[in-house]
Symmetry: C2
Subunit: 769 residues, 2 copies
């Protein structure tokens, strides 16, 4: 097997350098979207539907237009009327959203009209004066309801409210069932939870009539996708759209797609020839941005008596909400990754995304994987109980090994899954005596860690590097810092690859005109793909540095030169050295000289999966196990998470602080998902208006003990062997906690969140038996 590029000893990779953007953020110098200001800039506001489902009969904007300071009042009739949707370029049917709806509104909060005015007050005053005549329509609030024959149609074109169906599967399922000696059938379900980014969604658009270019400042995770989406919905060429990604106050996947402020601000700017800014309120954040799709899973699992999985069939309903957004993609993920945690020789998955008259979900860290993993890992524990096999042992019997190829064709070139399992089991001390109400649980995860070739056949990233005369490195890279520490990791990788100090590196990745193309930061790909792009360019520069240094040092053989910390020296004579600044100057200031510059485009060596999901979709796969220890109040059903142990196969740790932070953050979000967060009341509506209505775990709500174990399997394709660690931290948290709760109480909650009410009711039901 190939070895990753990793010239030892490493000096920067593996050390916990401070974030490259840390000081900027701490001192308030970082330019967030709300800091973008232009003279003459207008405030944009959006009028939203007060009804869950209604036909728009008439919109009267006359009174609104007369408000002093109002520069534009816009309805769907004033727009090109082109629908958008994240997967539109893969399937035109997946475009179902208008910037401003014209015929119907489909959820409370749907965009109906917009105003641009000299200030927010005037805009809000005008908003209140727009008169919309609605014909109220019957609405549906759950997939089950929506699928019933005769149910009201959210979109007339989607018969039966079926938005999309995704089927995945592999292996001989008939044989799997024949081999099954035990079969379990269970129903699991998960709820909607919000990423709650501290920075609200916002956009500043500026149309320049001279050039015809619309410039959009937006905190997007995928600037080049946004460029395409925005050009499409505005009906102008992509060359006339210019995206500048502002500093992001968290993304978590929710900023992958174009959000309503992007096209609405752009359309208002096109109309007014003025810069227009839209900033969402926290209420709009809950009403009108993306959240984790609720899913339900009808599962059928077959095993041999010895605990070998033989077959698995799952039917999933995805509650898409009023529009489709990323529901097909999330169904695909839910239908592949959770089935790959263990050796599953045969499985079938059918995911149906269903329209309902609710706010619509989208990407959120894990992207279908946390939902599916909750089901699969619950099933595993239930099977262990059924088979009378220790649940850790059951897992051991179904693990992967490095070099395996899964039934879906995933080639596991690096795999420290077993080490992760054993590390967590060891830390959990399963044989320790625990008191009443105490329990432990475990759950695994499988996630692509080397990109995923699913988006129109490029999963690449470009990088351009130049070294200045003073030895400073400037990186222009497509891959985005989204708050996760990506730019820090990229700077470390570049510094290591080139033998520079970390402080000598600058990273620019915000302006689509200037940076080379990248798919966008999502799917735990950024460090892997951008890191490899940077290494590809750095290798070219490294050879040139060594060549010039050899000249300057009169070295007999360039192979004997070592590079690090901004210098080049002769291995056995470290005193014979030269700085990289001197090398840069020497390369530059000579006849036929050149500045140290290089570009590279890295596209992971992966396959686009076929329609069944078969194909080696990622260049590397991340593994891990989480263990939870909980204390459950047997009276109230209240769950306290005492301890979390997380072991992750990260390939290589680039930045231990960053990797730990990723896992810690994932655990916090996972605990919220497991125990408390829930966007929708039972009736299907959301009444959230601010963070006080929506509890997310704060520092005090986290377990006192969080133990994070980073295990290095050195992936042959990873930058210095690294694999993605962005999403894994959240994926197994909920099932680990659910399994611990079951261990503690004897009752299994298969429906998230695991509230005291549900535990209490389950305990009472057991007692009543």
């Amino acid at each position: 097997m190939a070895e990753p590029f990793s010239p030892e000893p490493l000096r920067i990779v593996g050390t916990g350098v401070p974030r490259i953007d840390g000081v900027q953020k701490l001192t308030g110098q970082a330019l967030y979207g709300v800091d973008v200001h232009f003279p003459g800039m207008l405030a944009g506001k959006v009028l939203r539907s007060p009804l869950a489902h209604a036909r728009i009969q008439n919109i009267s904007t006359e009174r609104a237009r007369r408000v002093p300071g109002v520069r534009a009042v816009m309805t769907g009739a004033d727009t090109p009327g082109i629908k958008y949707g994240f997967f539109k370029h893969q399937n035109p049917r997946y475009a179902d959203k208008l910037p401003l709806e014209t015929e119907k509104v489909r959820f409370i909060g749907d965009e109906v009209a917009a105003v641009a005015a000299v200030d927010e007050e005037a805009a809000l005053e005008a908003l209140a004066l727009i008169e919309v005549d609605y014909e109220d329509l019957p609405a549906v609030f759950s997939p089950e309801e929506a699928l019933k024959s005769g149910a009201p149609l959210v979109h007339e074109k989607a018969s039966g409210n079926v938005a999309a169906i995704v089927r995945r599967g592999a292996g001989d399922i008939e044989q799997g069932w024949r081999q099954a000696e035990v079969v379990l059938e269970r129903h699991y379900s998960t709820q909607a939870v919000a990423p709650c980014c501290l920075e609200p969604h916002q956009a500043v658009a500026n149309f320049d009539p001279a050039s015809g270019v619309v410039t959009l400042w937006s905190s997007t995770q995928m600037p080049f996708q946004l460029r395409r989406e925005l050009a499409d919905v505005l009906g102008i060429p992509e060359a006339k759209v210019h995206i500048i990604k502002t500093v992001m106050g968290a993304g978590f996947g929710s900023r992958m797609e174009m959000h309503a402020p992007d096209p609405i601000a752009a359309l208002l700017s096109l109309k007014t020839h003025r810069p227009v800014r839209i900033v969402y309120s926290r209420t709009e954040e809950f009403q009108a941005t993306r959240f984790r799709h609720p899913m339900s899973f009808d599962c059928r699992l077959g095993l041999t008596r010895s605990g070998r999985i033989t077959a698995l069939e799952v039917k999933t309903l995805v509650d898409s909400g009023a529009y489709l957004s990323q529901a097909p993609g999330e169904a695909t993920v839910a239908g592949t990754n959770p089935f790959s945690i263990y050796k599953v020789p045969a499985f079938r998955f059918e995911g149906t995304a269903v329209y309902t008259n609710k706010p619509y979900g989208g990407a959120y860290r894990g992207y279908g994987n946390p939902q599916g993993t909750f089901a699969i890992e619950g099933l595993l524990d239930e099977a262990a109980l059924e088979l009378g096999i220790d649940r850790f042992e059951l897992r051991r019997r179904n693990l992967h090994n490095a070099g395996d190829e899964t039934v879906l064709g995933y080639r596991l070139e690096s795999c420290a899954q077993r080490e992760c399992l054993e590390a967590v089991v060891r830390a959990l001390k399963p044989h320790q005596k625990r008191g009443r109400g105490r329990g432990i649980g475990i759950a695994g995860l499988f996630n692509p860690g080397g990109g995923t070739r699913v988006h129109g056949n490029s999963d690449g990233c470009g990088a351009m590097l130049k070294i200045e005369d003073d030895g400073t490195l400037q990186i222009l890279i497509g891959g985005q810092e989204i708050g996760q520490g990506g730019a820090t990791a990229i700077a470390q990788i570049a510094a290591e690859a080139l033998g520079l100090t970390y402080e000598a590196v600058r990273v620019e990745s915000s302006d689509t005109n200037l940076i080379p193309w990248d798919l966008g930061t999502h799917g735990s790909r950024n460090t892997f793909v951008s890191g490899n792009a940077v290494i590809g360019a750095a290798k070219k520069l490294r050879s040139r540095i060594i060549e010039v240094a050899a000249e300057l040092l009169n070295a007999e053989n360039p192979d004997y030169l070592e590079v690090g910390a901004g210098r080049v020296w002769i291995q056995r004579e470290p005193d014979r050295s030269v700085s990289i600044a001197e090398v840069a100057k020497a390369a530059h200031y000579r006849r036929d000289g050149s500045v140290l510059m290089a570009e590279h485009f890295y596209d992971p060596p992966t396959e686009e999966p076929d329609s069944t999901g078969h194909g080696n979709k990622s260049a590397a796969y991340s593994f891990g196990f989480h263990g939870a220890e909980v204390d459950v109040d047997q009276e109230t059903g209240e769950v306290r998470v005492l301890r979390m142990v997380a072991a992750h196969d990260v390939g290589r740790v680039i930045n231990p602080l960053g990797a730990q932070g990723q896992v810690e953050g994932g655990i916090a979000q996972g605990i919220g998902f497991a125990l408390v967060e829930n966007m929708f009341a039972d009736g299907g509506q959301t009444l959230l208006s601010n963070m006080q209505d929506y509890k997310i775990p704060a520092a005090a709500d986290l377990p006192a003990e969080i133990e994070i174990l980073l295990i290095e399997s050195r992936d042959p394709h990873g930058p210095f062997g690294a694999k993605g660690i962005a999403e894994p931290g959240v994926i197994p948290v909920a099932p680990a906690i659910a399994n611990a709760v079951a261990d503690a109480t004897g009752v299994r909650i298969r429906d998230l969140p695991i509230t005291p009410e549900k535990i209490h009711a389950a305990l009472r039901a057991v007692k009543d038996k």
Copy 2:
């Protein structure tokens, strides 16, 4: 001889496309320095010396500090006290200027103190309250005065007020004098003229205490030189300086060096932690920015009776003014290029830059060449008269030919000098009968047209190119648009080299963090050097485009493919074609795909001249002749230029509109230099406060007939064969007019400007004889 890269037929190169920045400028969208605005930005103002020469005894800033709104009052004592100067890195002695002077002031207008306040009014009020005690010192106002023994010293370290001495020469001068059958001795002199850029000098500086970085928005021709100069004078590492070049309202060389607003704004921002803007008034423009150095020439020319030049010796005094700036560079140019117009087998030059207590000169289009050419081309006409040889014929006998190497080692690989001469002579119709007071004159020029290797051994430029999925090309290039049309030429060259449409190209060249290094736009190098940088990168992309297109078109042989206007087709089957957007997408959206990206650094294949000036300093040389027809009022001495004919060997015309514009502008400035402009009154002082005090030729002052002939010699190193045309237009104008005046009147004015008073006096002197 090598052929230039020039895939025929050309589609864009050679056509007069509109300027790439034209619409932006016409509609007011272009971001000039004065358009840069930040919240909390302070206004900076500079206190200047009211005396030509004085010792600073005390500065009291207390009253100024108390003005409401004042945020900083700064004197030299508050600064690091590091001197700067354009040639400091070549010779530390050439640094003689402080941002704010501490010991002495050396001219009326010298920088003494600075204020930053919330608005201009407060800053001006504070400025008026700064009290400076001066000890008035005797001053010198001309080089001749300054060189006298016992003259007051402008800089104590420069004994005899000699700022720098430059000696150049080649050939066997003794033999030259032995061969001379006729010897002429003459004295020529030229005055100070101002470039009069419409945009005043300005700078916005913003110090970010979080990163320690100073960002400077400045309309500089040489952002990377400015980065180095500013870092040096602030005493901080170059990595902590970030230059953003704003759109420039003309440079003409005057914005090559760091101007006082750059360091003063930066120092005020460092002090206040606020953005600070300094904008010069027109009075400050005349007082405190650069202009063409006055020079005088003591010449001795030897020729054979048959008109062959045998020897030439010139001693030049450069009136440097109070500081050195670019005087040594200009002396070097005056001591080389004018001696290279004709075959001069042996010459000696000694140029002495002398300090005087006047505002100081600097770079201005031609950079010593217009001054020296005025002397040499006057001498030629005087020699023709002396020898009784037709002045056109005398020139013919001393011309270069392609393939020649001059006595200084300049290799003339392309040379259409003879065609230029004959074209101008033909157009001038020398044998036509002209009336009384009418005359014609001619003068030649020699100028590097392929860069000049004189600045620390790199004359290069880097370019990074990327082609977007839609076939749009983004260029990141170090070479600067300074109003001359450089970006337009670069876009044409790139479009041609890649087979794109002109409209598909974007050029970015403003931000030193992002663009690759370039020496800076000066010396008529931009199109040549940047153009070659772009071609170098484009060639790499072109191969890839053809390779992918061949695949898409199932072409048997990529050699049979043609590229142009955004498409690739099979030569004999033009219907079998594919767009470059399709090629870009196909290259990108595939396994192992990559975005079309390439970088290149071009450094012209030239030699750094030795201390005598010997060495092939440029990769190409531009030639030309100007002819003038004048009408001189025999009573008043008033000169009317009736007609100018300009023939230029430009190698290849990239943009006929741009090239003609360059020559027309040069003629306008040359007429001002020849006839009217003069910054200093006889006493040596300037009292100019606004444009009404300083007449420059306006449209109505130009001759009705300007005939421009662009002759293409196809230089083997030039981009598509092109050579520089930025400076040539101004160089021979004054001597052509002077020669026409002499032809018209029989009197020769050897001292510019050729005013009616001088002609009148000369005519009277002749009459009185």
